[in-house]
Amino acid sequence: MSPRAIALSIIFGLVALGTGMGLLAGVRRKMDLEQWTVGGRGFGFLLMYLLMAGEVYTTFSFLGASGWAYSRGGPTFYILAYLTLGCVVSFFLLPPIWEAGRRFGMQTQPDFFLVRYGNQHLAAFVAAVGVVFLLPYFQLQVTGLGIIVSIASFGGIGRTPAMIISVALMAAFVLASGIRAVAWVSILKDALMLLAAVTIGIGIPYRHFGGIGPMFTALAHARPAHLTMPGATPNLGHTWYISTVLLSALGVFMWPHYFASSFTAKSADTLRRNAVVMPLYTLSLAFILFAGFSTVLIVPGMADGDLALLTVVRQSFAPWLLGVIGGAGALTAMVPAAILVLTAATLFAKNLWRPVVAPAMTDEQVAKLARGTVLALCAVSLYLAVYSSTTLVSLLLLGYAGVTQFFPGVVLGVFWERAGAGAVFCGLIAGVGTLAVLVLSGRDPFHGWSAGFLALCINFLIAVAGSLLTSPQQ
């Protein structure tokens, strides 16, 4: 067999295996809206861990983290810090959200805002903002998948057919098994991902430098500034690091899909124990960073840092291993894409379409509409991935800091009785507005500070001050 055929058949075999697991995950269960979106609130510790790890570890970790290590250097370490600190935040925040979710039957993030603040407009706005930031993130997974599969198969399968086939398979298991599919396919994806990360993280430095230590020695010698902050960037220094780590740690569970995944847990205690072990998963990112830092000296001067890792991987490994890495990469895109599209579709059907257009819809009709929306979103994103669009890139820049603007409404809603709908609404609008102005005019970081962090401060201030002024002393 030619190297191309070997790699291609392994990639295809792994993707088919994952799809099979996803389709089987929902067998013998009636897929109503509750089962489809929150798995009937029955996920135990292990399934919960797989779901959350499956969501956090996206193609961004695969291509983006190594790309940052290549093109920016030291600032990349913020990823290790924020994912860990995000778990600390989740320990306190997710259990009360879960309690409220069970009591009031919440399935989505806007459901939380609706129940807590009793304001339809606020809930619809949260849903709209959520969908706007989820879509480019979904798009990124689809595009990344095309890149990984086409490079790993030595060009044996082009970007477009790779994207069409895997998005179709992904849509099939999402429609069949909902969130259960995401958790089950994660088993295969996480195992492969870990294997791929360790292989390339140790293999590349050994092959080219004789070890991880010698690789760092060579890098520190050739580019003394690359491994500390601001690294290879002009403005990502310590102020940026602190503000970005805080922003991202507070924001990670504000993504509508992470937020909603806490509803799938069997108990609040499951979420607490999950928060204890989740940080350890972040350790595997270290291997991706080893590989990323190695590429700095192996393929210097590449314009697109995100491609550095795959280029070096292709130079360094046997075809069968490339197939495994390609398969891992494909599943690493398909699993998060699945949860993203599932969440976006539910937000649209349940929290936007029903309250605004057709209040008389039953839950069953909402479930049907959500499934239809999954197909529509998949089709649109494939179209955009093939005829690439530049507006999406700027939306993506806004995404992470954008969803973090939900944080004041959530944390005050959970722990502070006086927080009022109007104040939270104003804060949210001001936060998203400030962020959009700063980022889209190219002023992020703003005087060294992360723009999202400044927006969050304004948002928080308005929400707190507004609540103090409008709601009575208790």
């Binding site: 778990c87 600390v88 500390t228 350790l283 959970v414």
Partner: protein, 73 residues
């Protein structure tokens, strides 16, 4: 849905990982001394990933004891 606020001890323990991995960046963001061949800043963060997990576990034990003794509070 006013949730019970975490105890002061829990908040102090939770602040430790933030102090170590975030606010103190200026003190540990350097390459030397290298540990097991890794730059100091990277090794520092990797160690604190594990230690943060230990901190969250400690809070879990603390709060669980409180929840049990609190008698359904």
């Amino acid at each position: 849905m006013n949730a019970e606020k975490p105890s002061a001890t829990a908040v102090v323990v939770a602040a430790i990982p933030f102090a170590a991995m975030c606010f103190s960046v200026a003190w540990w963001d350097r390459i030397d001394p290298r540990i097991f061949g890794l730059p100091f800043n990277m090794m520092w963060l990797l160690c604190w990933i594990v230690l943060s997990s230990v901190c969250i576990w400690a809070i879990y034990r603390l709060e669980r004891g409180k929840r049990r003794n609190g008698g359904g509070k």
